[in-house]
Amino acid sequence: MTDLQFLTWVRGPGLDIAVGIFLLGVLWRLFEIYSLGRSKDLSAPRRTPGASGLHTVFRRSLPPPGMLKCSPVSYLGGYIFHIGLAIVVFGFAPHILLIRNLTGLSWPALPSQFVDLAAVVTMAAMTVMLADRINKPAKRFLSTFEDWFTWAATFLPVLTGWMAVQHLLLPYTAMLALHILSVEILLIVLPFTKLFHAFTLFGSRWYNGKVNGHRGVPV
């Protein structure tokens, strides 16, 4: 298989398969999770401003009092790599083009030098997070194969994308193909691993905020 044949496959049938499994998985899992339902809370609610499901969905993005100092690497590393990923995924011109092609939505791209920097910073942050996972007793204790695997599945698309743009190691064509392939792997595993938190996070925060909002606790 030549590089271009490889690229053609990952752009064509490969992407179709990956997006298909991704959509199938996301809908399947969302129904599987949320169809379990929950019982109505019969106790009299206490209304407090700032305490609701929606409040928590947003507020939980900030560290609660005292926690930032307690675990700075988790918070700062987490912020940097999530924001970095967002910049790289949604700010890079070829990615926007892909999104426009799929959804019709588009927006101005960020300069590629900036996206490039963001990619490097993201990878650095992810590396630090990995080291933190190895070093911190609680994190290491909790870690299973899935944690290492999903780290790699998230890191590789950034790495291969960056290497493709920088023309490192392999010819652009081969690197671009590997980049798309790694994204496809990410798409396929996302609904079936902890990466699914990208979707359930909103539900979880909302439930937590809802239960506590009922009690007037602004969590």
């Binding site: 752009r11 179709d16 298909g20 199938l24 399947w28 892909l98």
Partner: protein
């Protein structure tokens, strides 16, 4: 025709200075150090003209057109006169049995020394019957001619990679030269057609240094195919700034912005168009406002559409809708099963008593 090159040039009215100037330009084009120009000139001045046999197979003659008329009548064209082109159907005066005899003679006289140039792909379907010359199939002729060749030059994407004849569904079973010839050095000069100076450059290299130039993994001379179109493109700064033409007649197109979104394959195409240009350095596809088609890469014809940007899927979301429906169906199915299970567990629950707290 025998004799040294420089004599032949002199007979053509080409001065020594013209020749030196040509060598300097060629060296620059091939990314050789400036001193190499002088070395080339000296070597070429003394070179004997090698015998060249040019076999055309499943082709359109575009490669021959390119090499003969591009810079005509400049020196690149002349260098073709300066080799002993013993067989070239399109250019040779002889025809029919005479032509075939010339080919066989040349092969015999220069056995092991002649340079074999091939353009066009080789059909293997129906025992090669799709393309025959004088009643003999292309594959048969290629094998025969390759046997006594010092090296093979596959000119054009068809000879190098199979090209358009090999595009899906490849009705003739077309293959490239390197699919058939395994025991000779092969230089691929892909392109549809290839850039003339690239073809003459390879010949010049062979003439001067008696060897083939350094090749990349796809058998292409690195001097010309080492960089992508994108890397050398004068519109590259616009790509880096995220300025793209969205249609062929918008503001971006008029401002000469990057054609990536209009399907330019420059980032994955290795060729020298951006530097060597076409028609005597007049222009090249991107400069004239059209994206690169990627013609010097294998299977460019089937690489997902000329006007579809590289980052786009070839067939956007063909099965996505079906997958979403299937996912929802699976999810709802599991949901019902889960609710049933949950309900069963609830109704099977017997009110616990103090005794139940013990195991």
């Amino acid at each position: 025709m025998q004799g040294s090159l420089v004599d032949a040039f002199a007979r053509q009215g080409v001065s020594r200075r013209s020749f030196l100037k040509y060598c300097a330009t060629l060296a620059s084009m091939m990314a050789l150090p400036p001193v190499a120009g002088r070395a080339m000139a000296e070597a070429m001045a003394a070179a004997r003209r090698p015998s060249v046999i040019w076999l055309p197979f499943q082709e359109c003659t575009g490669c021959t057109e390119s090499i003969t008329r591009s810079h005509s009548p400049t020196i690149e064209g002349m260098i073709f006169d300066m080799i002993s082109l013993d067989y070239q159907e399109t250019l040779m005066a002889a025809a029919g049995h005479q032509a075939e005899a010339a080919r066989l003679n040349a092969m015999q006289d220069n056995a092991g020394k002649y340079l074999l140039i091939v353009d066009g792909s080789i059909p293997l379907g129906r025992d090669g019957a799709y393309s025959c010359i004088g009643g003999r199939s292309n594959v048969e002729m290629l094998k025969e001619a390759a046997q006594g060749a010092a090296a093979v030059v596959a000119v054009g994407s068809c000879a190098a990679f199979g090209g358009i004849p090999r595009a899906n569904p490849n009705p003739t079973g077309a293959v490239s030269v390197s699919d058939i010839v395994k025991d000779k050095p092969i230089v691929n000069i892909p392109g549809c057609p290839p850039i003339p100076v690239v073809m003459t450059g390879v010949l010049a290299h062979y003439l001067t240094f008696g060897s083939l130039p350094e090749l990349d993994a796809k058998g292409r001379p690195k001097a010309f195919f080492g960089e992508t179109i994108h890397d050398r493109c004068y519109r590259r700064p616009f790509y880096d700034q995220g300025k793209f033409a969205k249609t062929f007649d918008d503001e971006g197109a008029r401002n000469g912005w990057c054609l990536f979104e209009l399907g330019c394959k420059g980032p994955v195409t290795h060729n020298a168009c951006a530097t060597a240009k076409w028609n005597g350095g007049t222009s090249w596809p991107v400069e004239s406002g059209h994206g690169c088609l990627g013609c010097s890469e294998p299977d460019f014809w089937d690489a997902g559409g000329f006007y579809k940007a590289l980052s786009l899927p070839a067939d956007p979301l063909g099965i996505a809708g079906a997958a979403a429906v299937a996912g929802a169906a699976v999810g709802v199915g599991i949901g019902f099963a889960n609710r049933a299970k949950q309900g069963a567990a609830k109704s099977a629950h017997e009110t616990t008593t103090l005794a139940d707290l013990e195991k």
